[in-house]
């Protein structure tokens, strides 16, 4: 027992000085540095309605990765080409508050990529923009969904997608009507937004060109050479597969990822349902 102190110090130093070798020691033994199996995801915690200043909100925690999503509903004129469609605007904010890897100022490339991907995913699959119409050609709702990361410990995309999904389910749009060019809304009445499908993400990361692990944390992501994001809906239909990076991932592995992502759906749906609004 007397040696506990020095040994802990040695591991800490080893991890910092030689992160690749540190991870390899675990991965070659078919385990991971936090004790998880290769296919094991961290537990997802979801809470809906956590921000009362937003019309819809959620807080999601995957391991230590924590994000808050808030949706503000505002009114604007529709685009001339699509007079009866509203807007869904999504932005992912990765500030230096969540990790030392990010700088203050304009969004980093990884934040831009995440914003763009979430934007396309939800505009194409989840929100029917026609639902956001107040008066065709005159006024539509603009949903500004901002996903703020509080702690970044890997797998931000999964967290962002779950958070936006939960916030959209929490959203209450006030009953709005337009009278002589002015949109008025009754704050006391709110209707939930009808969503086309529920999305459930799962990310796999290829660490060190050899080990495919589920839900990588920050230390593992630093050694990643490729990653696969699989998004499926509540009926198990694939909504999106996104393989990034140069590392080789076999076709069998990708279909395995899709299978596992589909298998996780009932459990994840339960987590989302249990979150309940405030």
């Amino acid at each position: 027992m007397a040696n506990t102190g020095p040994v802990t110090f040695a591991i800490e130093a080893f991890k910092r000085i030689h992160p690749v070798e540190f991870q390899r020691r675990f991965l070659s033994q078919e385990t991971r540095h936090d004790g998880r199996a290769f296919g094991q995801f961290r537990e997802t915690h979801v809470a809906k309605g956590t921000v009362s200043t937003a019309q819809g909100s959620s807080t999601v925690r995957i391991g230590d990765t924590t994000v808050v999503c808030g949706i503000k509903a505002e009114v604007s004129e529709p685009d001339v080409k699509t007079p009866d469609e509203g807007y869904l605007v999504t932005n992912v904010d990765l500030s230096p508050m969540c990790s030392a890897r990010f700088r203050a100022g304009p969004p980093s490339e990884s934040a831009q990529v995440a914003s763009e991907h979430v934007f396309r995913l939800f505009n194409q699959n989840v929100v029917d923009l026609k639902e956001l119409c107040i008066e065709s050609g005159q006024a539509v709702w603009v949903l500004s969904a901002d996903i703020v990361c509080l702690r970044h410990d890997g797998n931000i995309l999964d967290a962002a997608i779950v958070a936006l999904m939960a916030a959209l389910e929490d959203l209450k749009l006030p009953q709005a009507k337009i009278e002589s060019g002015v949109v008025s809304a009754d704050k006391s009445t709110g209707r939930p937004l009808a969503l086309r499908r529920r999305l459930f993400p799962a990310t796999y990361t290829l660490v060190d060109d050899a080990y495919l692990v589920a839900d990588a944390d920050d230390a593992e992501e630093q050694l990643a050479t490729a990653s696969v994001l699989v998004v499926v809906d509540e009926r198990g239909r694939v909504a999106n597969v996104w393989k990034r990076g140069a590392g080789p991932i076999s076709r069998q592995s990708i279909s395995q990822c899709v299978d596992v992502a589909t298998g996780r759906v009932p459990k994840m749906a339960e987590v989302l349902d249990a979150a309940g609004g405030q």
Partner: protein
Amino acid sequence: MAANIIDRRRINGPQRSVEPLYTHVDAAADPFASGRGDGRALDQVRPIFVKTGPLSAHRSESALSSAAAASGAAFYEQGKIRVSCAVYGPRQGRRSSARMGSFDCDFRYAPFACSWKRRSHVKGADEREISLMLEHAIAPAIRLEAYPKACIDAYVTVIESDGKAATIAAAINCISAALADAGIEMYDSVAACSMGLTGARWVADCAQPEEDAASCSMLIAYMPSADEVTYILQHGKTTPEQTDQAVQTCTNMCARVYAVICRYLQDSLE
């Protein structure tokens, strides 16, 4: 105009969007007509929750810190107000010849943090002003001479605000806790508290509707063990006597807030 600049690095909505005109807003003429809305006493601060380190329920079993983790972090709640802060440092400063360390603060509202219109991503003038206020309020407590050539950075994000002065006070308390978590040498923790004047009464820790009805607001940052005030900000008209009284009451309340934070920090060590 900042509003006309389109930031291509973000997803942009339509150029102009406004809040709808809300009807049936329960606008009470006087939020103090029948006591305070949430049943608090006039000199009572909203309940405080503070947590340092990562937000998960327990520290991870492996207890190995990630290289990218902040030196110190804190999450602070006061009623509905929610503030998160990360502190980095002491790390290499920008001026290598400095004999004293520097303390910098970056304050942001989340775009959805305010009850009115959504905030733009572009940093507003008020955010810059508050950043500077926080630096001035906290820096006197830090032993900057112990960190030559180094800088300490605090990044603060408001997730939800409820009363502007109270939110700034919450940010000060949050940074204090994060600095303690980072193990930065300090003379004392800074505790802050705000008050609003309605009629002739000072009301502690005003929520947004109360602040809107108040004619004057007072914010004090205070180091209780040293018995020193590090920051006072007053907006609005008062008599000198009323200001005296406010400083007295506010410092007493700061001491109570300080006790809460210190008790948490002590417990977290065990």
